[in-house]
Every structure is written in C-alpha cells, then in structure tokens.
C-alpha cells in the first residue's frame, strides 16, 4: 500500500472514530479517548527507538513531561507579557516537539557509545535529572505545580476536550504514518540492522551513529508533541505525576504486548491495554490498573515474546522451518551442552 493511500485510510478511520465519539454524546468518551490516543503516540514513538533499533528507553515520561512543561513555559511567558490570545495547540505541539527532539538528540549524542543496557539506564538517569531541574525551576511552578486555565469553548468544534481529542487524534495518525514510513524506508532497514547486530552493521558500512541519533530525535520529538497539550487536558501540572513511571511502563508495555516489529503492534497494544486500563480505573482502582499492566507485561514477554502480532503470525503461517530454527537455537544456548 502506498503511503498517501494509507494516510487517507488512516484519516477516514480517524474521522469515523471522531464521529463515533461525538455520536455517544458524552464528554467522558473524549476524556478517556484522549488518554488512549496519547498512549498511541507515546508507544509508537517508543517503538521507533525501542522496537526498530532495539534500544530500550525508560525515560519516555521525561520526554512527555518536557513537552508538557514547554507548554507551561509558553503559557507563563504569555501571562507575564499580558498577551490576550491563547497559543493554538498545534503550535504548542511543535514547540514541545522541538524541545524534546533536541533533548532526544542530546541524549543520543551523550550515550552513543553505550551498549543497550547502559543506554536504558542512562535514559532513566536523564528522566531524574530533568525532573530535578523542573522541580527547582520556579518559573514553571517548581514542585508546587502549575495551573493552566482551559478555555471553555472552541469555535466550530464545541467543548475544549473535543478539540484536544481531535488534535491528539490527528497527531496519532501522523505518528502512525511516520512509523510506517520509517519501517519501509532505507532508514527502517538501517534501524533493523542496528537491532539485529550493531557491530556487523557498522562493519558493513551502515552509519549506525547517525541512524541512532535520527531515531532518538524522532522518538523524543513525538513524545514531546504528545505531552504538549497535556497541561490543557489536566489543568494542573505537577512534576511527580508528569514524570510518573506510569508513562514509562505503559509506553514500553504497549508495544511489547502488541509486537515491536511493525507499526500495528503499538497500536493494537495501546488499544487493548489502554481500554483495559480505562475500564479498570473506573471499575476497580487506578492502583490495580498499574498492577494489571505489570502482570500483563511480564506474562507477555515470557509467553508471547513477539506480542500479539507474533501470535497471529505463528497461527497463520506455521512453517516447518520454524521448528528447525527453534531447535537450533536451543542447542546453541549456554548450558544445554552436557
């Protein structure tokens, strides 16, 4: 399928989703849907670095929060200068994307020489450093948090949450199109070589450092864009919840549950896990829904290492080669030689 056609189909699906949400006629649908869409963007962004390149990023929350806090900074700046007009969300998204993209680039640059696990730990460290900076930065509220006044109505669309939902829906479509585009381009093949064997890729002339920098930048920028409208959604932004581990664990769990090799994986994982979480939050409690994520994540990585996509693949095309392959891997594994 060509990309323009894919884009059209995505937009049609998005329009159908929006029409469906409007048809329900309850604003709660938009509030719940916004969170799920936000996770579609986050998990797709995570997958560009984690799934395609094989570099685990534990710092999703940091990039998300950077986007959110760049919005707060802009909001405060406008308040300071007494400007009447509110900046449109897409502009804020762009700003958040640029900030997070730059930080993603910087992180990639700082950790270029690190092997997988060290990179993962470095991203975790980065999240804490950024959180400390934000906590100590009084202009954006510091540890007390910041209030953002949400306008009541938006012309043409209606209630503000509807508008936020629509913007996030479009961002989700954009993220999916970008992920699919990367997957099928030279860039994507380059990423795959990094994931499979970085040393061999480097030796055969793949510019691994450059590719990794591109991946960290794109992934970071998308996460920042997902975070930018968040202050308007939540109304009160606080460092400890914005940098919360929930974002990190969800943006890892969703692609892994869906399957990391293709753009569909994060989407499926997010829709499943995201809806499940929304239901669990309402019917049980928000603590239980995090437990649920943890248990499902562990169960999936053990039982279905390639996620739902992997399960579907093995179900549809059970090739005899697979069994041969598996047996070979087992005899190669340490400990099986007597």
């Amino acid at each position: 399928m060509r990309t323009p056609l894919f884009l059209v189909i995505c937009l049609a699906v998005a329009a159908a989703v929006f029409a469906g949400a409007v048809a329900v006629g309850n604003d709660y649908v938009f509030f719940a849907g916004y969170v799920i869409l936000q996770y579609v963007v986050l998990s797709t962004a995570w997958n560009i670095l984690g799934g395609y390149c094989g570099y685990v990023n534990f710092g999703s929350a940091a990039f998300f929060a950077l986007g959110a806090y760049s919005t707060v900074a802009i909001y405060k700046l406008i308040g300071l200068n007494d400007l009447p007009h509110i900046v449109p969300i897409p502009v804020l998204m762009l700003a958040g994307g640029v900030v997070s993209g730059v930080v993603g680039f910087g992180m990639g640059y700082l950790t270029l020489r690190l092997r997988g696990a060290f990179f993962a730990i470095a991203t975790l460290a980065l999240a804490v450093v950024l959180q400390t900076l934000i906590v100590n930065w009084d202009f954006v509220g510091g540890s007390r948090g910041a209030y953002i006044l949400r306008p009541e109505e938006v012309p043409l669309i209606g209630s503000y949450i509807k508008y936020l939902f629509l913007v996030m829906l479009l961002l989700a479509v954009a993220a999916l199109v970008i992920a699919r585009l990367i997957e099928r381009s030279r860039l994507g093949y380059g990423f795959a070589t990094i994931r499979d064997d970085e040393l061999a890729a480097e030796a055969s002339g793949v510019p691994t450092l450059k590719l990794k920098l591109i991946a960290t930048t794109i992934s970071g920028a998308l996460m920042g864009m997902a975070g930018a409208p968040f202050p308007y959604y939540i109304g009160y932004l606080q460092p400890s919840s914005t940098f919360g581990l929930d974002y990190a664990v969800n943006s890892i769990a969703m692609p892994l549950i869906g399957g990391t090799t293709s753009w569909v994986g994060p989407l499926i994982g997010t829709i499943l896990l995201g809806s499940l979480q929304q239901i669990a939050t309402v019917t049980i409690s928000s603590a239980v829904n995090l437990l649920l994520v943890g248990v499902i994540l562990v169960a999936f990585v053990i039982v279905a290492p390639n996620g739902i996509i992997g399960l579907v693949h093995t179900y549809w095309q059970r090739k005899p080669d697979d069994f041969v392959g598996r047996r070979r891997v087992e005899t190669d594994a340490p400990g099986s030689v007597p």
């Binding site: 094989g54 685990v56 700082l110 696990a117 460290a125 980065l126 943890g294 994540l297 990585v301 340490p334």
Partner: protein, 300 residues
C-alpha cells in the same frame, strides 16, 4: 566585631562541611550495601535487574512486619530472612533463564521483564500496605554519638558498619571460595567453566540468589535510616546503577569507593544547595561517567 563574625561563619561552615562529609560517608556505606546486589547481578552476570530496588523495599517491609508484630531487631530479621530471599532470587533467575537467556532475548524483553517485576512488587505493596510511610523501632534509632563537632546518628552508623561487614564477607566469598571463584569465572568464560564440568547456569542461579539475598539486608538498613513507602525504591534505581557503573561494574571495592563518593557529593549538595538538588547529583554523575569513562573507576 566584623572579623569575629567572619570567623564564626568560617567555623560554622567548617563544622557543616565536616558533618556533611561524615554523613555522606555513612550514607555511602548504606549505598554500598544497596549496590552490592546490583554489582553481582548487573556487574558480573550481565543481568540488568532493574527491579533490584523493589526487592530492597520488599526487604524493608519484611523487617517492618516482623518488627511491629514480634519486636525483633530489623537487622537480625534481615539476616534470618536471607535464605528466603536467596530462594526467591534463584527462582527469578530460573524464569529469566528459561524465558530469555536461553532464547537469546535478554536485551529487550529481559529488561521489560524486570521492569514489569518492579511494577508488580511496588503496586502489590501499595495495595496491601497503602502509601503511608512505615518505620521500625530499634534501640539504636534515636541516639547520636558526638565526636567533637561531628555528630554520628547511630541509625546511620549501624547500617554503615554492618553493610561494610557484609561487603567484606561477600568479597571474601567471591575471592576465596570455590563457588565465589566460579561466579567470577562465569562472567569471563562460560565455555571454559563448562569444560571443567561446572554448570554455569547453576552458578549463575546461586549468584543471582546471593544478589537478591543482599536486598533483604539493604532493605532493613533502608527502613532503619528513613521511613519507607513502596515507591521510595524508584529513587534508588538510578543511584545503584550509577554507583555500580562508577565503581567499575563487578568490582565490590570499586562499588564501596563509588558509593562513598556519591554519598559525600549528595550530602554536600543537600547541605549547601538544598535537598531538592540531591537526586540530580548521582544521576548527573552517572551520565557523566557513561559519557566519559564507561569503564568506571576501578573498571575491568
């Protein structure tokens, strides 16, 4: 009068400095205990056990339960509980081995597995105990020893001393016993180990069990030093890995030096700049170490 004031300020800040350094060393001793487990699992076995702090919190809660119901000393409880933690660790390694190492998928999915474990442990504790801070009672928690201007709270001194004993013991086991040497060998050459008729998986299982067993003690130290609630563990994730990497991965003496260093720098930062900046210090250290000298201070 002006000169007098200056002198007073000098003495005051000098006292402050000495006290900050001493408390940094004491907290560093505790950090060393927290890190020793990670030095074993991450440094020697290459298992990125990001859930280690969660097991430490588990250790804290075990000490808390026994202390409040039976009134037994937390450190004693922790020592008695080490076999249980060892078995837990060995079990987790078995799952990890069968599901990830054997399939060669430890890098991405193994990490996610431990991340999930971290979450499950933490949220289970939250669901059972709530998010209230819990603390223990012990005779050494209140008093402070004074040596001149230096104050040493016993609740810091006792964990520091026991922790250094623990690490000295671990180092002796690693360098002097057969199992210990086998653990060191498994990091270097599994095939050679197999050729000597030693099962590397068994050795790794034991090593990971020991690594989780140290979490029992570290957990008891933690709840002696400060009140504990389930999400406290997250603060230690970056810190322990920072110390482990800074100390040169598998090296226990390196970990002690790095732990003291980070303890001192953190304590100085929170004394002179405010406690809200302290977390950034160790992580900043980690980022710098990773960028500049990934092999650590006493690296292999």
């Amino acid at each position: 009068m002006h000169a007098g004031l200056c002198g007073w300020v000098m003495i005051f800040s000098f006292d402050l400095l000495i006290n900050a350094v001493v408390s940094g060393i004491l907290i560093g001793g505790f950090y060393a205990a927290v890190t020793s487990g990670v030095s074993l699992s991450f440094g020697i076995l290459d298992i990125v056990n990001i859930a280690h702090p969660a097991f430490i919190i588990l250790g804290s809660y075990v000490a808390y339960i026994v202390n409040t119901t039976l009134g037994i000393d937390p450190i004693l409880t922790a020592i008695v509980m080490t076999p249980a933690f060892f078995v837990l660790g060995a079990g987790i390694y078995q799952i990890y081995y069968v599901s990830f190492e054997k399939r060669g998928q430890e890098s991405l999915r193994g990490l996610a597995f431990f991340f999930g474990l971290l979450f499950i442990t933490e949220v289970s504790l939250v669901l059972y105990f709530g998010v209230d801070y819990r603390y223990v009672e012990a005779p050494y928690i209140g008093p402070t020893w004074h040596l001149g201007v230096v104050g040493m709270p016993l609740r810091m001194l006792v964990p520091c001393v026991v922790s250094l004993l623990l690490i000295a013991g671990l180092q002796l086991v690693l360098t002097r016993t057969f199992i210990g040497r086998a653990i060191m060998a498994v990091a270097q050459d599994q095939l050679a180990l197999r050729l000597m008729a030693i099962d590397p998986i068994r050795i790794k299982r034991i090593a990971f069990g020991i690594s989780i067993a140290t979490a029992s003690l570290a957990g008891a130290f933690l709840i002696i030093i400060q009140p504990v609630e389930p999400s406290v563990g997250r603060e230690y994730i970056g810190r322990v890995f920072a110390i482990c990497v800074l100390g040169g991965m598998g090296s226990l003496p390196g970990a002690v030096i790095a732990a003291m260093l980070i303890g001192i720098v953190e304590s100085l930062t929170s004394t002179f700049y405010g406690p809200s900046w302290a977390p950034a210090v160790s992580f900043g250290f980690l980022l710098l170490t990773l960028a500049v000298r990934p092999a650590g201070l006493l690296g292999r």
